[in-house]
Symmetry: C2
């Protein structure tokens, strides 16, 4: 999976960090919250209807689709190891797009990578 190339955004003064013990649920499929998350340490499994569809490593993001198009969570995210994530709400997201030159392109690369991998699965 693509990860964010420009990890300097992690040093942005507005960036908070939350910690999740191994096995804990970070977001649940169907929920209406709207943040995306950048994985700082650890590993996160994405599950759809109880089936693991992807794993996200440090530098990777998840939850960005609910932030971008404001629909319920399409997957449950579970910490596979003790994990630190940076929650990014709409306000921080817009700040990062404006202030961090490669952030928008990095997010687009993650989305594009997901489309190509899904298309390959469809044959």
């Amino acid at each position: 999976m693509s990860t964010l190339a420009d990890l300097r955004i992690l040093d942005h003064p507005a960036v908070p960090v939350t910690r999740h013990a191994a096995g804990s649920t970070i977001v649940s499929q169907g929920d209406n919250d709207r943040e995306m998350f950048l994985v700082r340490k650890g590993r996160v499994a994405l599950e759809v209807n109880g089936r693991t569809v992807d794993e996200v490593e440090p530098g990777g993001i998840f939850g960005e689709m609910s932030l971008i198009d404001r629909v319920p969570r399409s997957a449950t995210a579970i910490a596979v190891e003790d994990t630190e994530v940076i929650p990014i709400d709409e306000s921080l997201f817009v700040t990062l797009i404006k202030d961090a030159p490669n952030f928008a392109l990095d997010v687009m690369r993650v989305l594009t990578d997901r489309i190509r991998r899904t298309n390959r699965k469809m044959g």
Copy 2:
């Protein structure tokens, strides 16, 4: 399909326009060119292995995946009607991300919409 909400970018002084007669091919699957296109007038069919997978209307974009991740075209784009498109190369793309506040988010919405629609097709 999602379209770009902020069509004011069409008035950006750096924006060129190209015209394609009904039935003509705009880009071909497998090609290595790197522009994306914003449809200004007309309608564009996207074909993968000869099968139409999507249609793009005015305000919509196509070809963004090759621009974003620099891999060959995943689809052929054919003008269904007489069509005008705005080719956006990497330089203009970066300019638009920086100068047009909603452009990056609009492109992300198009990508997210494509992921959700593909996921629905997969059941």
